[in-house]
Subunit: 334 residues, 2 copies
């Protein structure tokens, strides 16, 4: 089909492209009523719809942003994206979703392609592996917001959970219930991924605050696939922990699997608290005590920061780190 353009509309309405464009952009200030009507009719009749790519080229704004998460399959990411999409939708922005899979090379490709597509800004769960690129974006004052993770020496608005607090809440809860042998299991700490690092450090600090010893044997960092084995080791220590903090939902799954396979009773044999309020927490047996992340609020905040930044067109903007409060969902696994 031949596409109908603004020229066609202009011809049909017996006016000029300029006037039609004014109409489209709702600048009716000086438009005669009958001109307006003719244009309206022509648009209707021709089934005209503006080509936003052309507009974007001229206006240097595509009204779309990019969101680069680690993996959309993680429910936290899904919720964040949902919140971002909702916020963007209200402001007539669209969102392109990318999965970086914790791979800096993939992240780099995405950032470069998104920029080439003239996306107005990017929200990223940074891999941390592209420091020079991040710096370049910032030096060009390209709108950028980090979420879930921060990157050393990169000065950009960042939205984070108060991870130390999350760990502290869990430890406090364990202690309150009477536990003093408390362990933590985290996915690999190697890449220095913010939530993991901070939660572990918060865990240690909280232990100290309670005058409890920080035993390295009680702190397990392992790939998800190895957690079962590491857990086994930990629980077969001469003095095993009686309570375990699961750093996130994936770790919690492994602990629950292990407990089931080894017929461990929760919380009698081992108490458990998980960070991430998993979908089944309320009807699992026992009901699972969790610490929820305000994922929607965090996504919304990130979107808000980004769109404000875009709107403010490179004028000096303050850079901050925004910490969100985790929330204890007290149930029965501790």
């Amino acid at each position: 089909m031949k596409t109908v353009t603004i020229s066609d509309v202009a011809r049909h309405a017996q006016t000029s492209k300029s006037t039609v464009s004014q109409f489209l952009n709702k600048r009716y200030d000086y438009m005669r009523d009958d001109t307006k009507k003719r244009i309206e009719a022509a648009i209707e009749e021709l089934g005209y719809s503006p080509n936003i790519v052309a507009r974007s080229l001229k206006q240097k704004s595509t009204k779309t942003i990019g969101v680069i998460v680690a993996n959309i399959l993680h429910v936290f990411s899904t919720q964040v994206i949902r919140a971002i999409e909702d916020f963007c939708n209200d402001s007539n922005y669209h969102v392109i979703v990318c999965n970086a899979d914790d791979d800096p090379a993939k992240e780099k490709r995405y950032i470069e392609m998104l920029r080439a597509k003239q996306v107005d800004g990017i929200i990223a769960f940074p891999t941390g592996g592209n420091v020079d690129l991040y710096k370049k974006l910032i030096s060009e004052s390209y709108p950028l917001v980090f979420l879930d993770r921060k990157v050393q020496e990169i000065s950009v608005n960042t939205v984070l959970l108060d991870n130390e607090k999350a760990a502290k809440i869990a430890v406090d809860e364990f202690v309150k219930t009477g536990y003093d042998k408390i362990g933590i299991i985290t996915p690999s700490l190697e890449k220095g991924i913010t939530p993991r690092v901070e939660r572990v450090s918060g865990f240690k600090k909280a232990l100290e605050e309670h005058g409890l010893p920080v035993k390295p044997e009680y702190i397990v960092s392992a790939k998800i696939a190895d957690i079962q084995r590491e857990l086994e080791k930990m629980l077969n220590l001469p003095e095993p922990p009686k309570a375990i903090l699961a750093l996130n939902d994936r770790v919690l799954f492994e602990i629950l699997k292990y407990a089931k396979e080894h017929s461990l009773k929760i919380p009698e044999d081992i108490a458990v608290i998980g960070i991430d309020d998993v979908s089944f927490a309320g009807f699992y047996s026992p009901e699972l005590t969790t610490i929820a992340q305000p994922a929607f609020d965090m996504g919304k905040k990130a979107a808000e920061l980004l769109l404000n930044r875009i709107a403010s067109k490179g004028s000096e903007v303050e850079v901050n780190t925004f910490r969100f409060d985790p929330q204890l969902k007290k149930r029965s696994s501790c």
Copy 2:
């Protein structure tokens, strides 16, 4: 910052825009080696990156597709999107994600905006409420693929679960285990959403095949919020069902909650099979027998169909419905 354009590169490399463009598009056929080198150097030095919006305007292809799901928070949608994104990434396409929330008005807005943005094609979980729009797209031979749901009288490539088979597998399994009083719970059937309608009809057919009566009291259709109440009614029937098929994960949640609150033992008091292989199926107590949807395969297929359609540039293409096989995950809740 001033953007650097192809003209800057041309000037710097002492050649013309045309030649630089040839270079960018890797049409080296007739390019002298030193020209090539000069261009390369200029690009490097200026930090040039092409403006894809300009290219898109000229080439009438944005290398971007739109995906409109009901709600990205549903794990099935998330998996489908992941598969689509992976496939698109391989072909250098980007994907814009939209949530229609089963709202035809919202769907309409998205479709129109995506088209205005000159997106090369759309994959949709159609609400079913915009028949005229769908028809219009098709008549313009705009690349479109439906997923999860089909729409009457709309002839477009559609990727679906074999829903009847999913229900049949569940019923067969119940019967095999010795159950003959089998119920089904589904979210509201009112909107005629394909998977619900087809699973219920598959359920009835399967019952008949086994010579079992189809009792209306055993078929509950209710909003998620009302399921607890309806379940209570059903289980207090003079002759209540002893096995229940949960139409999807959300329904399963409600059943599990109910069972927990009323201390019903699964499968002793009530056997359960759920369609959708929920994350905790393998370590719930009891382990949950489920029927998995091949979400990744389905997403990949949809992406493949769409990109082929885009590549084939409006030439006649066959239209089909692609049914994917559900898979029984035999565990212990039946």
